[in-house]
C-alpha cells in the first residue's frame, strides 16, 4: 500500500510537470502578444515593444521561459496580470475562499440530498420519490449551471423578491446566507440530480448480486440489506463520481460566479481570458491540473480503502 502511494505521488509530480509544459507551449503559441496589451495602442512602437520583450525575457527560447516560470513558482512568485496589473497572489489566490465557499456548500448539500434520494428511490423503485428524482436528474443533466442561475434569479429575485441576485457579503458584514442561497442552489441542483441517478442505478445493480440474495436468505430486515449490503457495495463507484464532480463543480462555478457577480476565481478567470492574461490563465490551469490529479489520486485511495483486496495489499 505504502509503495503504491509513493509510486502514485511520483507519477503525479511528473504529470503536473508535463501538463504544465503542454499548456505553456499552447498558450505561447496562441499568437496573442501580451506586450501589445501592456503598452496599449497609444504607446505602441516597434522599439518599445522589443525593449519590453527583452526586459520580460519573452525573447528567450520557450523552454528557458518555462523553467524560469517554474523557478518563480517555487520562489512564491506566481506571476502578475499583464493587462490588469494585479499579482496572481492578490488577484487570484485571494479569491479562492469565495469560490470554495459556494462549491463546498454545493458539494455538501448535493451529496447529502443526492445520496439520500438516490438510496430511497432504489429502495422504493418506481415510487413518487423515484419519479421525482428522475425528473430532477433529467433537468440537471440537460441544463447547464448558468441556466439554473438565470432561472433562480428570475423566480426568487425578480418575481418574488426574496433573495438578492448578486454579490457577496464580506466577513463581518451581516448575514451572509441570503446571498449564498441562489448560487449554491444553481451549482448543487445539477450535481444533485446526477448523483441521485447514479446512486440509484448503482444500488439497483448491486441489488441483483447473489450475495444480496444470500443476505436476504438470512432473514435480516430489508433496511439492513440495503444499508449494509447494497449501499456499502455501491459506495466505491458513487464516491468516484462524487469526487470527479468536484472538478466539474469548480468549472461550473466560473459561469455561476459570473452570473451572480460572486467575487471568486471564476470571475477573475473570465476577465483574464478575455484580456489574454496568460500568466493568470496559466496559474489557474496549473492549479486545476493539480487538483484533478489529486482528486483522482484520492478516488483511487478511497476505493482502495473500501476494497479489502487492495487495502490488505495484493
Amino acid at each position: 500500500m505504502a509503495k503504491y502511494i509513493v509510486r502514485r505521488l511520483i507519477t503525479m509530480v511528473i504529470m503536473v510537470f508535463v501538463i504544465s509544459l503542454v499548456i505553456f507551449i499552447a498558450l505561447q503559441s496562441t499568437g496573442v502578444d501580451p506586450v501589445g496589451q501592456m503598452l496599449g495602442v497609444d504607446n505602441y512602437t516597434k522599439e518599445a515593444a522589443e525593449e519590453m520583450r527583452e526586459k520580460l525575457g519573452l525573447n528567450d527560447p520557450i523552454i528557458v521561459q518555462f523553467f524560469r516560470w517554474w523557478g518563480n513558482i517555487f520562489k512564491g512568485e506566481y506571476g502578475k496580470s499583464i493587462a490588469l496589473g494585479y499579482t496572481v497572489k492578490d488577484g487570484l489566490i485571494a479569491k479562492w475562499p469565495a469560490t470554495l465557499e459556494i462549491t463546498l456548500y454545493a458539494l455538501l448539500i448535493s451529496t447529502v440530498i443526492g445520496l439520500l434520494i438516490g438510496m430511497l428511490s432504489a429502495f422504493w423503485q418506481n415510487s413518487i420519490i423515484d419519479y421525482l428524482g428522475r425528473g430532477i436528474a433529467v433537468l440537471g443533466n440537460s441544463m447547464p449551471e448558468y441556466f439554473f442561475a438565470l432561472i433562480l434569479i428570475q423566480i426568487f429575485s425578480i418575481k418574488l423578491g426574496l433573495l438578492p441576485s448578486a454579490g457577496r457579503i464580506p466577513a463581518g458584514g451581516g448575514s451572509r446566507l441570503p446571498n449564498l442561497i441562489l448560487p449554491v442552489c444553481a451549482l448543487a441542483i445539477p450535481l444533485c440530480g446526477n448523483l441521485m441517478r447514479y446512486t440509484r442505478n448503482t444500488m439497483l445493480d448491486v441489488a441483483n448480486q447473489e450475495y444480496v440474495k444470500l443476505a436476504r436468505s438470512k432473514g435480516i430486515p430489508e433496511w439492513k440489506v440495503y444499508i449494509k449490503h447494497i449501499f456499502r457495495n455501491s459506495m466505491r463507484p458513487v464516491i468516484t463520481i462524487l469526487l470527479f464532480r468536484l472538478t466539474i463543480l469548480i468549472g461550473g462555478s466560473v459561469a455561476v460566479e459570473t452570473v451572480f457577480a460572486w467575487p471568486g476565481v471564476g470571475q477573475v478567470l473570465t476577465k483574464a481570458i478575455t484580456a489574454s492574461d496568460y500568466w493568470v490563465v496559466m496559474f489557474y490551469t496549473l492549479f486545476m491540473a493539480i487538483m484533478m490529479l489529486s482528486i483522482s489520486f484520492l478516488i483511487d485511495l478511497i476505493g482502495a480503502l473500501l476494497d479489502p483486496r487492495v487495502r490488505l495489499g495484493k
Binding site: S217, G219, D307
Partner: protein, 342 residues
C-alpha cells in the same frame, strides 16, 4: 399416510415474470410434498425452472415475479410432535413472518459460491450475521465461537484464522463451505441447495455433498437438492422430481425414477448422462431438439415437439399426471389407464 411428517407442502404453484409488458409463465401447476428427514432432488435441463421453483417457495424472487398457488405450507416439527404450520403463500416476501423462517427454519445454498459472499466483509461476520439477527441476546463473541465451531465441523483447518479472512482470500471450495456454514449456522430444518457444487472440482464436490448428506441423516434434516449431476442424485436423494419447461413431468422415489423411468423425457435425460456424473463443463445437450422458448405458450404436452411417441392427443388440453405405482407420478398419456392424480 397419516403419520407422515410433511415439512413442505406445495400445491399448484404458478410463477410468471413480467417483462416488457409481457407476462411469461415459467412455473406451471407445480405440486410436491417433502417429508421430514428426506432429501428431494429436482432435476431437468437448464432453464426448466428449478431455481425459480425453490425461489418461489422461499420468496426470494426478482421484483418482476408473480407467484400464485393454492398453498405453500411449511411445518416445523422442531418443538413437539404437533407441528407449527406456516402459510408461506400468505406471507409478504420480506415481511417479519417470512424473515423469521429464513435462517432458523429454511435456509438456502445458492448456485454460485463465488458470487454468494459479500466481498467487503470478513467471512466470520457474514456467518454470524444471521445468527445474531435471530438471537438478539447473543453476544458477538459467543456468535463467533459458534461460527468457528461450525467451520470445524465442516472440516475447515484453522477456523479461528479463516473467520478473519475476506472472501477473496479463500479458494472456491473454501468459499462454498463458508456459504454452507452460513446456511447451517441457525440449525435450520430444511436446507435448499441449488446446484451447490457446480463451480467446484470433482473431489471437493464429493466432500461437500458427503458433508451435507451426513448432516441430513445425523440430525434428521430435510434437503432439497437441485442438480444436473445424476450421480449425485443417486447418492443423495430419496425422492426425485423431473421438471420440463416449468412442469413436473415425473416424480417418485429414487428407485422408481431410476429403475422405472416412465416419461419419455426422463428416459432421455437418464440415458444421456453417465450416471457417474458429468465432467466439468460438460452439458446436457445430447437430448435431440432443444428447449422451446417459454414465451411460446401452447396447449398440450410441453415435450410433444421433441417426443418420439407424440400423438394428436398430446397436443390438446391439459395433460394429467397418472400414478403408475404408489408415489410414482408420470405426466404422459402413454400411462393413461392408471389413476389420475394431478
Amino acid at each position: 399416510m397419516e403419520d407422515k411428517k410433511i415439512i413442505l407442502d406445495v400445491k399448484n404453484l404458478n410463477t410468471s415474470f413480467k417483462s416488457d409488458g409481457q407476462v411469461i409463465k415459467i412455473i406451471k401447476d407445480v405440486s410436491f410434498q417433502l417429508e421430514k428427514g428426506r432429501s428431494l432432488a429436482i432435476v431437468g435441463e437448464s432453464g426448466c425452472g428449478k431455481s425459480v421453483t425453490v425461489h418461489s417457495v422461499t420468496r426470494l424472487m426478482a421484483k418482476n415475479a408473480i407467484i400464485n398457488s393454492d398453498h405453500v405450507i411449511y411445518r416445523s416439527y422442531r418443538n413437539s410432535e404437533e407441528p407449527k404450520e406456516y402459510r408461506i403463500d400468505k406471507m409478504s416476501n420480506y415481511g417479519k413472518e417470512m424473515r423469521s423462517l429464513r435462517g432458523p427454519e429454511i435456509s438456502m445454498v445458492f448456485q454460485d459460491p463465488m458470487a454468494s459472499l459479500n466481498p467487503v466483509y470478513r467471512v466470520g461476520d457474514q456467518i454470524i450475521e444471521g445468527l445474531l439477527e435471530h438471537n438478539k441476546s447473543m453476544s458477538k463473541k459467543e456468535a463467533m465461537e459458534k461460527a468457528i465451531d461450525m467451520l470445524k465441523k465442516l472440516g475447515i483447518p484453522a477456523p479461528e484464522q479463516r473467520v478473519k479472512d475476506y472472501p477473496y482470500q479463500l479458494s472456491g471450495g473454501m468459499k462454498q463451505r463458508i456459504v454452507i456454514a452460513i446456511a447451517m449456522i441457525n440449525d435450520p430444518e430444511l436446507i435448499i441447495a441449488d446446484e451447490p457444487t457446480t463451480a467446484l472440482d470433482v473431489t471437493i464436490q464429493a466432500q461437500i455433498m458427503e458433508l451435507m448428506k451426513k448432516l441430513q441423516t445425523d440430525y434428521n434434516k430435510s434437503i432439497i437438492l437441485i442438480t444436473h449431476n445424476m450421480g449425485l442424485v443417486t447418492e443423495m436423494a430419496d425422492d426425485v422430481i423431473v421438471m420440463y419447461m416449468g412442469r413436473i413431468v415425473e416424480k417418485g422415489s429414487l428407485r422408481q425414477i431410476f429403475s422405472n423411468p416412465s416419461h419419455p423425457y426422463t428416459k432421455m435425460l437418464l440415458s444421456s448422462v453417465p450416471v457417474l456424473g458429468l465432467e466439468q463443463g460438460q452439458k446436457l445437450t445430447t437430448i435431440p431438439g432443444s428447449t422451446p422458448n417459454p414465451a411460446d405458450l401452447k396447449e398440450g404436452c410441453e415435450f410433444a415437439g421433441r417426443c418420439p411417441f407424440c400423438t394428436d392427443a398430446c397436443l390438446k388440453g391439459k395433460i394429467p399426471g397418472f400414478e403408475i405405482e404408489e408415489g410414482h407420478m408420470v405426466r404422459c398419456l402413454r400411462c393413461a389407464g392408471h389413476k389420475e392424480v394431478d
